[in-house]
């Protein structure tokens, strides 16, 4: 194992003084233990213990173990909210990997972590500090010279507003994070702040969940809370069953649409039968987009089904299914102009329209309402 010094980690005087000062309350962090008693100082690491030390011997031991000391200092002597500390520690696997393991990794190319579509790289800063780099996971191996480089977390606000195709992203956790940018040389605070701008409140909610305190608000209570134009959504639940909420979750909350892991259910006793996703961070209640869409569905779903008769060839029926799939999966734009083998190809679709729509745009000339006929 290379020595700490070879990797440029030094214990600085601030860290040493802080450690001595903290000894009387006791230090216990990732395998480092320091205590003060009448018999002198104790300095212990996972495989060694030194007792009865005077202050200069304590300083000497500490200086010989810069990783443990700077690690303690980084996690305990910074003014940082609890959720942020827990998050930054989780990113580098602090509860699973020993201090030497982590420092080796930090110094040797860094530790890689991920959060939604973000790739976070943790490197070793001066005196055992950390520096963080943040970019889209697709750019993780890109040369930073090719990326648009930022250091101010607030610049993330504009960066994440549109996707790579220039479309507005009303849902911050949609898997459409744009590429081509990187935040370099962030400290822990700035990293957490940037993450909170890219994916607002995800760290806070993740931390609450870790502590078993996530305040989930299920579908029913969320809809009952709504007023104004959204008050109507509550009435959607008055019919039989709750399958409609399964469809909402399938439509909006699948990982292909939103990276949050849906934790809300229909109500306390009724689970939603579709998968909530595998995202690192939880979704604690239906979001405003889901509520706005649910308002529209509440109106539409008030209609009764009726039987229509359409004349289609078998291929035309399948083509309609292909078109619905392509739109639902966001793939319509990716189908190539000349790829007439795809049902949702533009020429194929225009042909279908030319053949099967009447002048009023009605499929097979069938009126929507009886009175139209």
């Amino acid at each position: 194992m290379p020595t700490a010094r070879a990797w440029g980690t030094d214990v600085n005087d601030t860290q040493l003084d802080a450690l001595v000062a903290a000894a009387d309350e006791g230090v216990d962090c990732d395998g480092l233990q320091v205590a003060e008693s009448e018999a002198g100082y104790t300095f212990a690491l996972p495989e060694e213990t030194h007792e009865g030390l005077d202050e200069s011997e304590l300083r000497e031991r500490a200086t010989e173990n810069p990783w443990f000391v700077s690690n303690w200092h980084y996690w305990n002597e910074r003014d940082r909210p609890e959720a942020e500390t827990a998050y930054l520690r989780w990113l580098e696997g602090a509860d699973e990997r020993s201090v030497p393991e982590r420092y080796d990794a930090l110094a040797d190319g860094g530790i890689e972590a991920s959060w939604g579509e973000l790739a976070i790289e943790i490197g070793l800063g001066d005196d055992g500090d950390r520096t963080y780099t943040l970019c889209h996971e697709d750019d993780a191996d890109a040369d930073t010279a090719a990326l648009d480089v930022h250091t101010d977390p607030l610049e993330a606000r504009e960066l994440v507003k549109h996707d790579d195709r220039g479309r507005y992203r009303p849902l911050k956790t949609a898997p459409t994070l744009p590429t081509g940018w990187a935040f370099l040389d962030l400290d822990g605070r700035a990293l957490a702040r940037t993450v909170d701008i890219v994916y607002p409140a995800t760290v806070a909610n993740w931390h609450l969940e870790q502590q078993g305190d996530l305040d989930i608000s299920n579908w029913r209570e969320t809809m009952e809370r709504q007023t104004g134009i959204y008050g109507v959504v509550e009435t959607w639940d008055r019919g039989e069953g709750h399958e409609h909420v399964d469809w909402v979750a399938e439509a909006c909350c699948a990982d292909s649409q939103c990276l949050k892991r849906r934790e809300w259910e229909y109500d306390d006793d009724t689970e939603i039968t579709v998968d909530g996703g595998d995202g690192a961070f939880p979704c604690r209640e239906p979001c405003s987009l889901v509520i706005a869409a649910a308002r529209q569905w509440t109106k539409l779903e008030g209609e009764q089904s009726k039987t229509y008769e359409f004349e289609l060839t078998p291929s035309e029926k399948e083509q309609i299914e292909d078109i619905i799939d392509a739109v639902a999966d966001g793939e319509a734009d990716d189908i190539r102009e000349a790829d007439v083998y795809e049902g949702a190809n533009r020429y194929r679709t225009r042909f279908l329209r030319a053949k099967r729509f009447d002048e009023e745009g009605r499929l097979c000339g069938v009126p929507t309402d009886d009175e139209e006929s």
Binding site: K161, P170, K172, D196, A201, A204, S288
Partner: protein, 295 residues
């Protein structure tokens, strides 16, 4: 530690709806008097429901970037922030006089100072005047000019008309413009007939809206006859029936709005040092920065 949270409507469809909110947050942040300055939105993220948990400070000043008292300030925001003991009577308002109230939030251990909306603060009158200065590029605009303050009518919310009238009256009392009128989109006196209401050749029209959007960029310009089709744009000033109309766009985009936000928080007890004077100075027309001329 004290935090300022600006709560605004935001949009699922319009990417620019949040821009003024962000800009005012940046102006307040630069003043350096709050440990944290955050934004939260009804339609964007962080939501009203989740913003407080992202904040470290124990004292939180919540300022609604809304034009009037009503549905959002009285029901939606307090409910979504979980200000469980909220009661609209706490504001003891006549429709434009809410200042602030202090409450606890249900999901975090913080003291929340819930302030009245930006649009009804007295200082908003100054922002309207500043908007007139900005659009005419004249820090002394007034003599020879009429000023129209424009809003929705009472249709959706009675207090929204009150806020418009309140500021029109206050600016009228300043005696700076030859004439000051409150005009509305959906009731008399209507914005469609703007030139009927003024003697002055030059009329500055300032819509009391938080952000530019459909109403301020499509409806109002067409209704006033600045253009037949908003997509082709319009001149500033535009000639209409022998008058020159200086159309300012949403007042909430004016940089000085940040001052009203700070004043709201200061009224609620926030320690803001000399930030108010500082922002007034920095956002001034023809000043060093912050002033954009025309739209």
């Amino acid at each position: 530690m004290q935090a300022l949270v600006i709560v605004a409507h935001g949009s699922h469809l319009n990417p620019d709806a949040s821009t003024p909110t962000y800009e005012h947050a940046d102006t307040v942040r630069a003043a350096g008097v709050f440990d944290e300055v955050r934004t939260a939105f009804w339609k964007e993220e962080p939501s009203f429901r989740e913003v407080l948990r992202t904040i470290e400070s124990e004292e939180v000043y919540v300022v609604p970037l809304f034009i009037s008292e009503g549905y959002f300030t009285e029901q939606v925001i307090p409910r979504e922030l979980r200000l469980d003991d909220w009661d609209v009577a706490e504001w003891d308002s006549d429709g434009t006089s809410a200042t602030h109230t202090t409450l606890a939030a249900g999901d975090v251990e913080k003291t929340v100072h819930y302030c009245g909306p930006v649009g009804t603060h007295d200082a908003m009158s100054d922002v309207i005047v500043r908007r007139a200065e900005t659009v005419t590029d004249d820090p002394d605009v007034g003599p020879g000019f009429g000023l129209a303050v424009v809003g929705h009518g009472t249709e959706r919310n009675e207090n929204s008309a009150k806020a418009i009238e309140y500021h029109a009256e206050r600016i009228g009392e300043m005696g700076r413009f030859d004439e000051v009128k409150a005009l509305f989109m959906d009731e008399d006196p209507e914005i469609d007939d703007v030139t009927d209401f003024f003697e002055s050749d030059d009329i500055v029209v300032v819509p009391l809206f938080v952000a530019d959007g459909y109403h301020t960029q499509e409806d109002i310009p067409e209704d006033m006859g600045l253009t037949d089709d908003y997509r082709t744009g319009w001149e500033t000033p535009a000639e209409v029936d022998g008058h020159r109309i200086w159309y300012a766009g949403a007042v909430g985009t004016e940089a000085l709005t940040a001052d009203v936000i700070i004043e709201r928080a200061a009224d609620a007890g926030a320690d803001v040092g000399n930030a108010i004077e500082e922002i007034r100075r920095r956002t001034r027309v023809a000043g060093a920065d912050g002033a954009s001329v025309g739209d």
